[in-house]
């Protein structure tokens, strides 16, 4: 599987590492070269300096032949815009978008993006953990 990840955040880097280790072809983009320090020494994928909002950078990362695009920067709006570029301009089959804001998560889910809100997921997990303790 060919995967393009935008944002070498903790989540992005970890995901890139996991997917590359499983033998997938991974390219990870970040606008800040120092973010790549989060990648392991033996990372077998490609780390590219560039923005996921920029078509030239996306082309370099191989977006045209990618099976999956994942937007994992810290900014909801950047992630949303990049995901829509991947989906509507480059017709990437599977696009996953990280969104912190639950309202935006719901809205873009309805508009056809696969969205993940760590805010909602983590809050739910903590609550579940508390309830288990109580019982």
């Amino acid at each position: 599987m060919k995967v393009v990840i935008m944002g070498c955040s903790r989540v992005g880097a970890r995901l890139a590492e996991m997917l590359a280790r499983e033998g997938h072809q991974v390219a990870i983009l970040d606008i800040n070269a120092s973010s790549f320090r989060r990648l392991p020494q033996d990372f077998t994928g490609t780390a590219l300096l560039g923005s996921g909002l920029d078509e030239a950078s996306l082309n370099k990362a191989g977006i045209k032949t990618a099976d999956v695009f994942i937007a994992a920067t810290q900014g909801d709006n950047r992630n949303i815009m990049a995901s829509q570029i991947a989906r509507h301009i480059f017709s990437v089959e599977k696009v996953v978008c990280r969104i912190y804001d639950p309202l935006r998560r719901d809205l873009y889910g309805e508009l056809g993006l696969e969205t993940i809100s760590s805010t909602t997921i983590v809050a739910q997990m903590i609550k579940d953990g508390l309830e288990q303790q109580e019982s």
């Binding site: 815009m81 301009i89 309202l103």
Partner: protein
């Protein structure tokens, strides 16, 4: 008519001001509290502090009854997302987005933003019109061959006037295809064709040699 503006910078501020003069109901949503206070001190309480992409802020701004939504922040992604939320969640009938990178225009249109305004592009066009000698106009991009067809007008003050086209030192690969003179038939420059003021020269050139070609045609 109720209009919501996102971004209270120079653009948002001046737009709000002129819309109020035309008696529209206007609300500005701006992140910077100081800017909000400044606007409110001058125009009455028409600005609130907050993120124009946030549902709660828009809800409290009465976005559901707004008629027009205008996003004027300095970031394309913020303008895009604000307009999409306005359109799809709050059902505001008309959304207008400022565009900083013209390459995003196609995406914005595809995603249903009603109007996009490329402020940089507009300013550049105006400036071009004000330049004394119109620069190289692009007629056609021959993408495959990496050449382009351009139109260069010889200014009245060009030092090449009176010279033969064949004596001009053209950059490598340049081809002068056609000369257009007012009131005359288009002609292909031959051995004896001289440069005349206001000749419109249609040429084939590689993009990197464009400036050299303009210099060759206008300066001795």
């Amino acid at each position: 008519m109720y209009i919501i503006i996102i971004g209270g910078g120079r653009l948002g501020y001046n737009l709000a001001k002129s819309l109020i003069l035309e008696s529209y109901e206007v609300l500005v949503i701006e992140k910077d509290v100081e800017v909000v206070e400044h606007i409110n001190a001058e125009m009455g309480s028409i600005a609130i502090a907050g993120d124009g992409c946030e549902g709660k802020i828009l809800e409290s701004a009465g976005a559901r009854r707004a008629d027009i939504f205008i996003a004027l922040t300095g970031e394309d992604e913020d303008n895009l997302v604000a307009c999409q939320i306005a359109k799809h969640y709050f059902k505001i009938p008309r959304t207008i987005a400022r565009l900083l990178d013209e390459r995003n225009e196609r995406l914005f249109r595809k995603l249903g933003i009603d109007v996009t305004i490329n402020s940089t592009g507009i300013i550049l066009e105006y400036i071009k019109h004000e330049l004394p000698s119109p620069p190289v106009m692009h007629l056609l991009n021959l993408r495959e061959a990496e050449y382009e067809i351009v139109d260069i007008t010889i200014p009245s003050a060009a030092s090449t006037i009176g010279m033969a086209f064949k004596d001009l030192k053209l950059p490598e690969g340049a081809i002068l295809a056609l000369i257009l003179r007012s009131g005359k038939k288009p002609l292909v420059p031959g051995d004896s064709t001289m440069v005349e003021a206001l000749d419109q020269v249609i040429a084939v050139i590689s993009p990197e040699n464009e400036t050299l070609l303009r210099q060759a045609l206008t300066e001795k």
